[in-house]
Symmetry: C2
Subunit: 289 residues, 2 copies
């Protein structure tokens, strides 16, 4: 376990202005941001497919950071993080564990969104002493229904988004209803609030490696979720067309210590962003219970 190259104090500013730090993990620099109080078990956020530091809804990060030390980081080879992106979820999980230990933490909570939720499941199972509690949103178990179709869906939405001059997140994360579209545009605006020192965009090779990892996760034999001993909070929109919502219900049913947030109405993969106030309140309650 290497010591962090720099040990900045957790910032009490908002995510919009949180400085980006980096820590060397076995010779590779991982970028991260932290904010919130300095005490307590840190909450490590694991981002979705193609996501960078700037894909976290600032309302969710700030909401959680009001009471928890929150840390976001860039996966290996993504945005400002060095190295080349692995093409398996297991390798991403091992990276995350090394990153957490490089920051000097012996116990953390995890919050994984979509692909980040796949990673969180692996870490929780493999590192029962490192992980205290887990929040899983818009995600599913290995071999879960429809997950192997996520790459094709993401590519299709990306191309369609270009042809229609629309951010593909709108169709992938939100329902095609008046309130879904409104919530989608509101999120896109929030994601642009930070104007200085934004993370770099993901490269095409890194995106491809992640697509491969997601497909493999979707084609894996169903994992034995009873091996995850930690308490887990599971959340999603009721109509997730990326990682179908039944995976969320399935996770809640198969995880030994689970709590299911009632699926958010008229919401999809980005349900926790659409209902960020409710989600933050429930997440904080779960972490503090």
């Amino acid at each position: 376990m290497s010591a962090p190259r720099s040990s900045p104090p957790p910032s009490r500013s908002s995510y919009e202005n949180a400085p980006t730090h980096s820590v060397s993990v076995d010779g590779v620099d991982f970028v991260y941001r932290q904010l919130g109080p300095q005490d307590g078990v840190p909450l490590i956020l694991l981002i979705h497919l193609a996501g960078t530091l700037d894909d976290w809804d600032p309302r969710v990060v700030d909401g959680l950071a009001a009471r928890r030390r929150v840390i976001t980081f860039g996966n290996r080879g993504v945005g400002g993080s060095g190295g080349s992106t692995p093409d398996t979820i297991d390798a991403m999980a091992h990276d995350a564990v090394r990153f957490i230990r490089a920051l000097g933490f012996d116990q953390v909570d995890l919050f994984g969104l979509s692909m980040g939720g796949f990673i969180a499941q692996v870490i929780a199972e493999e590192e029962p002493h490192l992980v205290r509690r887990v929040i899983l949103a818009g995600t599913g178990p290995a071999g879960g229904h429809g997950i192997d179709k996520v790459p094709a869906l993401a590519i299709r939405a990306t191309i369609k988004g270009t042809l229609t001059r629309q951010d593909p997140k709108l169709s992938l994360f939100f329902t095609d209803t008046a309130s879904g579209r409104r919530a989608g545009h509101a999120l896109l605006q929030r994601l642009e609030e930070r104007t200085d020192n934004r993370d770099r965009d993901i490269s095409l090779p890194s995106f491809r490696a992640q697509l491969k990892a997601v497909k493999r996760w979707g084609r894996r034999a169903p994992s034995d979720l009873s091996a995850v001993r930690q308490p887990v909070l599971v959340a999603n929109g009721e109509n997730d067309r990326m990682v179908p919502s039944q995976n969320t219900v399935d996770l809640a049913a198969r995880l030994p210590k689970s709590e299911l947030v009632p699926l958010y109405p008229d919401a999809g993969h980005g349900g926790i962003f659409q209902y960020h106030e409710d989600f933050v309140a429930r997440a904080l309650g779960f972490l503090e219970s």
Copy 2:
């Protein structure tokens, strides 16, 4: 040959404000715009892959319309044009011929850009009496070097464009140099000048059909270009990474009556837009010679 549903007088306004008309072609409505003088042989513009009425550089259309009757139209199933998009260049050429005859024309000039240039070659060969002169830009012959790779390249650029929040046209149509990037952004701005009554974006199924047609064209046995008897003006940037520029040189060498515009320096697939003043002058000169 059906009569046009409406026969609007050619508009003398700019392309920015040119009204969009439609004409029924065997029961399917094709959208089109026309401007410029009412006399003389009309110049029919054939747009590129995924292109709609609003993908024509208004400087090029207005420049040509200063002295020629210019007509742009939407391919079958693209933008506001009805029907479903065919997946062969030959079928697109037959559509274009029916569209031209539906407008009542017995003789036209053709200006095909990229995929539109494939279509123009087929029409010129199959309809020697209908076509008087041809302008081919950023295009190549059937079976031309690298053309079968255009679909993969277009998809890759589209995905990369989304990840980097950049219009894929910048990387596909322009060189990655200071002047290339400047020219690219300038074109994107010009393409947004029209704000009212814009064409609809191409749908994903129509885009896919076109990708298939382009791939097939690229894999066809080289055609006998000596069958094209009309005078042809050939133009491109010197560094076209979509339809490699050597195809332009090849066209000029193999077409019996060709004239090659010296390849535009530090320019790619969108070279005729980057050098629109020079191109318009040469095109008008060629059409009037």
